[in-house]
């Protein structure tokens, strides 16, 4: 078992519109991307963020950027009462615990 953070070159989060939160995991080359990408599942993401699997809206593999993109439902629309991160730029840290 290894940590994805040790081989990823980019781990980031951001709003994708006001209602969705999207995470990008990018890898330095096609080989690493192919080793890791299938280990990233809706089940693991739901467990890391303590949300329902149905709230993990999509996981897309994007070969041109050696990237896996994960999109989840935002806990609330950006800026709604209770907001903690309007841009959604600091929601990626739990992905550092992702293993493959």
């Amino acid at each position: 078992m290894r940590y994805v953070k040790d081989v990823a070159s980019v781990i980031r989060s951001k709003n994708a519109g006001p209602y969705e939160l999207t995470f990008d995991l990018m890898f330095p080359d096609a080989e690493t991307y192919d080793q890791v990408r299938h280990a990233i599942t809706k089940e693991k993401i739901a467990s890391l963020y303590q949300i329902e699997e149905s709230q993990v809206l999509s996981i897309v593999h994007f070969a041109p950027a050696h990237a896996v993109k994960i999109t989840i439902e935002r806990p609330r629309a950006s800026g709604d009462l209770g907001e903690t991160d309007v841009y959604g730029a600091q929601q990626h840290a739990p992905l550092f615990d992702l293993t493959y």
């Binding site: 980019v10 951001k14 709003n15 994708a16 519109g17 006001p18 209602y19 969705e20 999207t22 990008d24 990018m26 890391l48 963020y49 303590q50 949300i51 809206l57 999509s58 897309v60 994007f62 041109p64 950027a65 050696h66 990237a67 993109k69 999109t71 439902e73 935002r74 806990p75 629309a77 950006s78 800026g79 709604d80 009462l81 209770g82 907001e83 903690t84 991160d85 309007v86 841009y87 600091q90 929601q91 840290a93 739990p94 615990d97």
Partner: protein, 449 residues
């Protein structure tokens, strides 16, 4: 039809650009200068309140160079999502700056202003005709929400901007616009491929963010040809690489293979990215898949109340170990004390515990010190001040179990400890509207300024 060249000076009008990069862009003889000025990222306040999230001085600074260069070369300058959110107050704010710059340059220009505000009555009718649907994980729209919105805009496609160009506009100040349109309108008018023009615009709209090292305040240059487009960073410290451009395709969207916009979507499944010498990247193969009906994206925001905040630190280990229970107990004291005030929101952001991630935080073990941001939102500023102030003073002297520090529970960095931050808005419309004519919602006025 050999090549159409586009200069994108900066990621957002007002974010600035180095003059050397801009000059290098002008030396490449662009056919148009285009810039996106907006985003929903800064949150609902700016749309709702009709305020720009960029400052007047930096916007004017950028426009001074852009307008002077466009007029001198006789090429159009196109600004999209003016004023940050693109509603009438934002557009008028931007037009006023354009006027001021023209006066200072002692110049005149044919200026087109395109409003994208949507009439509430029209939306009510369209709602009852079933022509409005949610976009993503959003509730169905209701008449009540339409009427409660303080601003509603529709995101325009290429058509209104193309019309302004056809009528000879030299400067176009557009309201809410799909980001790529300001870059793609001129080439599409001239017969260039729609998919390539839009895809190039999709990358140019963030300017040098698509280069490496990336920057939101530097230029990017695009060369559109019949079967491909090429991107070039204009600052010698940056270059476009296959990876930087492909990676940008992921930015702020949920599916990089399918990018929806007015009238259809870009399909990137056949797209190839190829590195050229000199830090350039060539892109080809992108397709445009039109939708059967034409949909425009609607955005709206409504007032939810007024906010007061108070910032305080906690260092006492006994208090920190019980922080959740203490906050709940003090909230209950507030509710008990003001039984006639029910309609408020009282929340404590607990930095050092879960202030950044809230319910998504997997750890939540408190640090040795906590930063509390107490916020109250209520129907009036006066009630918000009352609730925040009462919570703060009650927490300061609250006697929790096992307390040893009996002189006060909070460390305030400021006097006064509380700050009234004013109106609070929320996004309440994020929907698609089916239209018969892509231009009918948008009003274009052209005049000599």
């Amino acid at each position: 039809m050999s090549e159409l060249r586009i200069l994108s000076p900066t990621a957002i009008l007002g974010y600035g650009f180095p003059l050397a990069s801009f000059q290098a862009g002008l030396e490449r003889d662009p056919h148009v200068i285009a810039v996106d000025a907006g985003s929903t990222d800064p949150g609902p306040y700016y749309l709702g309140a009709g305020k720009s999230f960029t400052g007047r001085a930096p916007v004017k600074r950028d426009l001074q160079y852009l307008i002077a260069a466009a007029l001198e070369r006789g090429i159009p300058l196109i600004i999209g999502t003016a004023g940050g959110s693109g509603a009438k107050p934002h557009v008028d704010w931007n037009v006023e700056i354009v006027r001021e710059v023209l006066q200072e340059l002692n110049a005149t220009a044919k200026v087109a202003v395109i409003y994208s505000d949507v009439d509430r009555e029209l939306l009510r009718q369209e709602l009852s005709r079933g022509r409005i649907q949610p976009l993503g994980p959003v509730s169905h729209l209701t008449e009540e929400e339409i009427m409660a919105s303080s601003q509603i805009v529709a995101q325009m496609g290429l058509e209104p901007i193309m019309q302004a160009l056809e009528e000879g506009a030299q400067i176009i100040v557009a309201g809410r616009a799909y980001d790529p349109t300001v870059f793609a309108a001129l080439p599409v008018m001239q017969g260039y491929d729609l998919a390539l023009a839009l895809h190039m615009g999709k990358i140019l709209e963030c300017a040098a963010i698509a280069a490496t090292p990336g920057s939101g305040s530097d230029c990017l240059f695009g060369y559109l040809r019949s079967d491909s487009f090429v991107l070039e960073a204009l600052n010698p410290e940056r270059s476009c690489t296959k990876l930087s451009v492909a990676a940008h395709t992921l930015y702020e969207k949920s599916d990089p293979y399918s990018l929806p916009g007015p009238g259809g979507r870009l399909d990137l499944r056949q797209t190839t990215f190829e590195e050229l010498p000199g830090g350039k990247v060539k892109v080809s193969g992108t397709q445009f898949i039109p939708t059967e009906k034409y949909f425009l994206k609607l955005e709206g925001a409504r007032l939810v109340g007024y906010r007061t905040i108070s910032i305080a630190g906690v260092r006492d280990p006994i208090m920190i170990s019980q922080i959740d229970e203490i906050i709940s107990a003090v909230k209950a004291r507030v509710a008990d004390n003001f039984q006639d005030l029910r309609d408020y929101h009282l929340h404590v952001h607990c930095y050092g515990k879960n202030g950044v991630m809230g319910s998504l935080e997997p750890y939540g073990q408190p640090s040795h010190e906590l930063g509390l941001v107490i916020e109250a939102v209520a129907p009036t500023q006066d009630i918000a001040d009352t609730i925040c102030g009462f919570f703060r003073s009650t927490l300061l002297h609250y006697g929790y179990p096992g307390r040893k520090s009996t002189a006060g529970n909070l460390a305030f960095p400021y006097s006064p400890s509380d700050t009234s931050t004013g109106a609070v808005y929320k996004f309440n419309i994020y929907h698609l509207l089916e239209v018969d004519d892509p231009k009918s919602l948008f009003t274009i006025s052209i005049g000599e300024e």
